[in-house]
Symmetry: C2
DNA sequence: GACATATATGTAGGCGCCTACCTATTTGAA
DNA sequence: TTCAAATAGGTAGGCGCCTACATATATGTC
């Protein structure tokens, strides 16, 4: 048996990461097979800019549920590739507003059918997996209600009680 | 709405990774709160060595479902920390057999109650999430049956049919 | 026995995220 | 108006995995 199927909290994290790697790896191979130079992490930012229009680093980070640092790093990669441009927001000099360049818009247009195929494949996969996405949602919600940290700490015996029990043995 | 809850194949990968980061981050914080110097990736290797005894890099990689390179890197980190020792397998000079050192065995003994608390927290979380682990199993199985790559490629229109349709516009 | 192929594990570099810390700008309270 | 606190996004370094490629050893065929 795959040991991670029987193990605890740390192993669930490892399992999620592993499946994530598997899926991302497959997606990356599709782009490569089509001769498209694309970084997986671009998808979230591009998709959001294409659908919602220009956005700041922080807005994208909130929407994507990742740190602003990740968005900033992705932004730099996208700017280097000429896909995204950014400027200081006129309304707030702390903000950086990201927009698709013309090349970026063309790339998105070119990739949209592919992303539709991704979507369809994901729906098919999800159906086969008995709605894994809904389970992921529930997991997300459960963690938002109470973190794993708090759960673990609540379960652990307090040092004082543990010590008073031991010497009787 | 959190956009990733509505998006496709690439976004499922991102979601899995994000939840994984969340869980791993919490686990890391528990060790830190207890003043224990521990790398999250050590868990899989240590747990396996403690339960199954000495093992080779490849055996651990198979059991943990990660690449031998990851195991090798983790092994190096563990050896540096004096937790694991390794030697060339007498029966096959290509193999490297990993074993827990005395310090390693003591660390595992010390951490076992903590790992039980992890397990219990994970069960609690999983129950709240309506058996997310079973869903993950099903997702795993579905991907093993047919990769996301194959699914996407099967769905995509072939280039020839796409091209013959376009010029009529 | 010779040698092609398979197997085991290492190195190098990269991916996509993170935390800690920092600087600059904006907001709100006194 | 002044200034403390909040907000925005950057740099630096790290985490835990990956692929590509390499070397050494074992196995199997001729």
């Amino acid at each position: 048996m795959d040991y991670t199927r029987g193990a605890g909290g740390a192993a669930i994290g490892a399992r999620l990461r592993r499946v994530s790697e598997w899926i991302d790896g497959d997606a990356t191979r599709v782009y490569a097979a089509l001769g498209i130079d694309f970084e997986q992490r671009w998808f979230g930012v591009l998709n959001q800019l294409a659908r919602q229009g220009p956005a700041s680093v922080g807005e994208l980070a909130s929407a994507l549920r990742i740190t602003h640092v990740s968005v900033s790093q992705t932004r730099q990669s996208l700017e280097k590739a000429g896909i995204v441009a950014s400027e200081t927001d006129p309304a707030d000099a702390r903000r950086r507003r990201l927009t698709l360049t013309e090349d970026g818009a063309r790339l998105v247009e070119r990739l949209t059918p592919l992303w539709r195929a991704f979507e369809e494949a994901a729906l098919e996969l999800n159906a086969e997996a008995g709605d894994a996405v809904a389970a992921l949602d529930r997991l997300d919600d459960a963690l938002a209600r109470k973190s794993l940290f708090d759960r673990i700490i609540a379960i652990m015996p307090s040092p004082a009680s543990g010590r008073s029990a031991a010497p009787t043995g």
